[in-house]
Every structure is written in structure tokens, then in C-alpha cells.
Amino acid sequence: MDKHLQNEDLMNLCAYLDGSGDEKLCAEIMRHLEECPACSALANTLLKTISLYRETDEEVVMSADVRDRLFECLDMKDLA
């Protein structure tokens, strides 16, 4: 792989990291990443972006008040 990573390569890389990609293709991409600082920066920051969103998403919690109002609007306050 001489050229910079293209969309398809990134899709394969992401699929592999998600646990569903082709191992052989990914090994080729990984080899390229070791030799290419630009693509390595792209892949690193892409993965960091995803992990930052996942971390902050875990902090979103539905409060007890929201749950109470939901049961009230469903006319199920007696079951809350």
C-alpha cells in the first residue's frame, strides 16, 4: 500500500477494530500506518474521537424525576 488510506481502507480498519473486519486486509493497513505518519495521525485521532463520545455518552443518565413524569404522562403513576 503506497498511497494514503482511502475511505474503503478506513472502513476496513474500523470494521476490524469493531470486531467484524478482514484480518488480512487490516494487517496490510496496520503496516501502512507504521510507515505513514499522516495516516497514523488520521487513524489515531479517528479512534480517539469515537472513544471520547463513548465516554461522555455513558454520563447521560435519566433522572428519577424524568422517570416519574414519564409514568405520569402514560397515566401509570400507580405503577411507578
Partner: protein
Amino acid sequence: MEALRSGNREAFARMVDEHSPMIYRLAYRMLGEANEAEDILQETFLNAYRNIGSFEGRSSIKTWLYRIATNQALMRLRKRNPTFVSVDEDWADPDGNQIPRELEDWCCLPEEEFMSSEVKTQLQLATENLSPALNAVFTLRDLHGLSTQETARILNISESAVKTRLLRARLQLRELLSGYFKERVEENRHG
């Protein structure tokens, strides 16, 4: 399932307790606002309560609820900004470059740089810049961990459209955040 379909209130209440946290989280992430997330939550379960009798069980209850909530959230997002256009057209720039190249590797920043409230604001601002269609795929696939197949069923699009939109969303978010983090790297370099 039979109890749910026959309108059993206790069964419905159990279903609400099981699935409401994830629906709230989905709506909050897509809309970025607590009041609107609560509206979507209530609309989703009211809609489900009215229609549970006709739920055919071709998909799981979870997928069905996700579909209702995602559609409601998408309608609100499209009302907010009706200028977003089709997302599946060719996405190369006029120079033929398909991937944006902001090359600073900001992953080297100290971990505490990523944990500030300012970063959370930046993440939210970046999400607001995604088109509703990209926002939905990113939220379902990357934040809720749904499979490509489940996401395609919820959004009624092909699996290949899910894959393309997911990569586009990830790249756009990365690019938007890179502007902010690049400045942090510069600040760290110069003390």
C-alpha cells in the same frame, strides 16, 4: 409479549423501565438538550402504548422503540435545520480528496485535557454540525452499539448506506474536533 399486546399495564410498565434509559440517552445525544430528550421519551412510549396491539413482532421491542424514537428525533432535527441535504452523494471535495486531512495527532495530549467541560461542549457542537442522517447512524452504531443490520432496519436504509454514513460521521466529527485540539497541542508546546 402476549401480555404486552393485550394491553397489560404492569407488563407495559416493566417494558418502560427496561428500555426508557436507553431511549432517553439516544434522544439526548441526538438533540443535545434535556427538555427535548424528555419530550422524545414521552412521545415514544405514548406512541408505543397506543400501537402495542398492532406490534407484529417482526423485530424486537427494542428495535421497534428505537425506530419510533429515532424518527421523532430526526423530525425535530430536520425542523431545526431544513437546509441539510442528501448525505449519500459523492463526498470528495472539488480537488478529489475524499478524506479531510487535519494532520495534527492530538492523541498525545495529557488525558486531563480530554476531560474538561469545554471538551464536552466541543463534542456537542461538533454533533450539531452533523446532518440528521449522519447523527442518527453515529448515535445508533457508535454510542448505542447496535449492529449495522439493526441500524439499517431502524432507519430503513441499506447496510452499505449505514457503513458509508458511519465513516462520514466519524470523519466529520474528527475533523471538527481537530481544530479545537490542535490549539490545545500548540498551547501545551508553548507552555
